[in-house]
């Protein structure tokens, strides 16, 4: 049941949809378009900035670092996410509330607060190292900040909820009778899981992978705080280009490349959900 005929549709548009369209258009889309413009006009009109991608090895290194860290983060987050999604799936009502709370509460706290907490935990004279040294388990403090390990620990912490929810949603959509049928046909627990259950959750896993990946590559706060300048991902690199060396053309170009990659994956994501709905 769609709503209304032509003239009424226009009224719906004007009254209800136009304010948001204008607001987002002026205060969001327009600024982003400005950046796009700068990437092809600063310092001179043309695609010189984009050519730097091919010419400048430092830029490529930044992108590879970004993709590598985002990739590791994605793998670990989705693995943990699958585990927690499964717990949610088989949980009773009380356990479900607890697990959901443990996912939602961090999700809504500030990324900055969490990054700070990880610094307090992971730094050389931080809580974990002090405990380990005090117990005599190690001789020197373990380096867990200002390196990729620290960044990944911090980023995975942010991403696990993003990975868990789509996977859980896919698990819920599985008809329990399918598993019962498998068992009645002689499948024991592990084959039933591996051959029937797991493949049916793959669309959710795919959605989780894409969501985590596209959020990870654009991350700013966590890598800066936990990377300590040693691990530079593309968002930090852009920020440095702009604020310290004032190379707006280069910074804007990198921002546009980042945006293009994100949008590409978003389209893939939409395709995946359409496929999932089609298969369901």
């Amino acid at each position: 049941m769609t709503f209304a005929p032509g003239a009424a549709n226009f009224r719906v548009f004007a009254l209800f949809l136009l304010p948001a369209l204008l607001f987002i258009g002026v205060f969001f889309v327009y600024p982003v378009l400005k950046i796009m413009l700068i990437s092809v006009t600063d310092p001179k009109p043309g695609f010189a900035n984009y050519a730097l991608l091919i010419e400048n090895p430092a830029l490529r290194r930044v992108f590879f670092t970004t993709i590598r860290i985002a990739g590791i983060t994605t793998l670990v987050s989705v693995a943990i996410g699958y585990l927690l999604a499964y717990r949610l799936h088989v949980a009773g009502p009380r356990e479900m509330k607890i697990v959901l709370f443990c996912l939602m509460f961090p999700l809504w706290t500030s990324v900055l607060v969490r990054a700070f907490a990880w610094v307090a935990l992971l730094q050389n004279n931080g809580i974990i190292n002090s405990a380990l040294l005090g117990l005599g388990a190690v001789d020197h403090p373990l380096p867990m900040v200002r390196n990729e390990l620290g960044v990944v620990i911090g980023m995975v912490h942010v991403m696990v909820p993003y990975a868990t929810l789509p996977i859980y949603s896919a698990m819920r959509a599985i008809d329990p009778r399918v598993l019962q049928a498998a068992r009645s046909l002689g499948a024991t627990a592990w084959p039933a899981f591996w051959r029937i259950f797991f493949p049916l959750t793959l669309p959710g896993v795919g959605a989780g992978v894409i969501m985590v990946f596209i959020t990870s590559i654009g991350f700013y706060i966590t890598p800066i705080v936990l990377g300590g300048g040693k691990v530079v991902m593309v968002a930090e690199y852009i920020s440095v280009q702009i604020t310290e060396t004032l190379r707006w053309g280069l910074g804007s170009m990198l921002a546009m490349v980042l945006l293009a990659v994100v949008l590409l994956f978003v389209f893939a994501f939409r395709r995946l959900t359409v496929l999932r709905q089609g298969a369901a």
């Binding site: 709503f3 209304a4 005929p5 032509g6 003239a7 009424a8």
Partner: protein, 356 residues
């Protein structure tokens, strides 16, 4: 008073309404009848102003309604599912249209009371819709649609969600209400019993086209097409060839058999089919009053409480005969040899479009 002129509606490639035209008389009870997917709800929503027709016109007292927006049309609508406002009490639901029209509180109070009295829900004014049964909610929806004295009342399958007993009780309610308020009612339903019982005029839709629009008796006894004959009640169909006889009596040929048939304005020519209602057939030998007869063997008997449905295999196909169970009458049994007979005016001759 309400004229539908060549109304059509298409969504992309699919035609939901195809050139529908008929007239609704003031004060009448008109039903739009059809199976699901026939376009009847779309038709009602076009009249209401929520669906814009692709072609054609809707005129009220001669003036086109198309430029008038839904909120200005002043029609009372009872939606499928009733659409009662869950956050308002019954009283405030019914008062809503009066508030929209800016009536004073005193006047609103009086009118709401009268409307609730009319549907016999006076004691439920302070309840919330979720506290009411399906039948009660439907009555509140009616009260809300009637309270502002609209020029037309539209009802979209109001009884389809209720169980049989309740449906019949509410059907009587609707009839009573219509007589009491004297407004024009247009009802949409797929239930042919409802249509025949309640209305003075029935428009039958099939796949978006208007099959026939007439009073119930005409529709039942003189159906315009095979679809109408099949949709309203049960019917037997015998393919025949019409051979014109003398002075208004037709001779119909089917296989080895010849039948006598009389009918005002029979179809002109082409493939035809004789529609025979099961209750117009009897299981006796033919005589002067029932010149048409056909031999057969009883294949099945169905007991239906007040009557018997007897299936008879003949060389013109399987026919169904409806017999009322009377005192002392001999009832047929399976495998009996019988003769079916009927009078010259018992059947109705139709064009058979599906035979083309």
């Amino acid at each position: 008073m309400l004229d539908l002129v060549g109304l059509s509606k298409s969504y992309g490639a699919s035609r939901v309404l195809d050139d529908v035209s008929f007239i609704v008389q003031q004060g009448s009870f008109t039903t739009i009848l059809g199976p699901s997917g026939s376009g009847k709800s779309t038709l009602l929503m076009s009249i209401a102003g929520f669906v814009e027709p692709s072609a054609g016109d809707i005129r009220l007292h001669g003036r086109s309604l198309l430029p008038v927006s839904a909120e200005k049309r002043n029609f009372g609508i009872v939606f499928q599912g009733y659409a009662l406002f869950p956050h308002l009490r019954v009283r405030d639901n019914v008062a809503f249209p009066l508030r929209m029209r800016g009536l004073s509180s005193a006047e609103i109070g009086g009118r709401v009371k009268r409307a609730l009295d009319l549907v016999q829900l006076q004691n439920f004014a302070d309840r919330f819709p979720r506290e009411l049964s399906g039948g009660q909610q439907q009555r509140v929806a009616l009260a809300r649609a009637l309270v502002f004295e609209p020029s037309l009342v539209l009802l979209d399958e109001p009884l389809s969600a209720l169980d049989k007993g309740l449906r019949e009780a509410l059907r009587d309610e609707l009839r009573r209400l219509h007589k009491a308020v004297g407004m024009t009612f247009v009802l949409v339903t797929h239930d042919q019993e409802e249509a025949l019982e309640l209305s003075s005029q029935v428009a039958i839709l099939n796949n978006g086209r208007l099959e026939q629009c007439a009073d119930p008796a005409t529709l039942y006894n003189a159906p315009g097409s095979r679809f109408v004959a099949e949709f309203l009640g049960r019917s037997n169909f015998i393919p025949v060839e019409a051979i014109h006889g003398s002075t208004g009596t037709l001779q119909l040929q089917s296989g080895r058999h010849r039948f006598e048939h009389r009918q005002d304005s029979p179809p002109a020519g082409g493939p035809a089919v004789l529609a025979l209602r099961p209750e117009r057939l009897v299981l006796t030998d033919g005589d002067a009053s029932r010149p048409n007869s056909l031999p057969g063997i009883v294949s099945d008997i169905s007991y239906r409480g007040a009557d018997l449905s007897v299936s008879v295999t003949t060389d013109l196909g399987e026919l169904i005969v409806r017999l009322t169970i009377g005192d002392g009458q001999a009832m047929p049994r399976t495998d009996d040899r019988v003769r079916i007979s009927w009078s010259a005016t018992a059947g109705y001759l139709l064009h058979d479009r599906s035979a083309a």
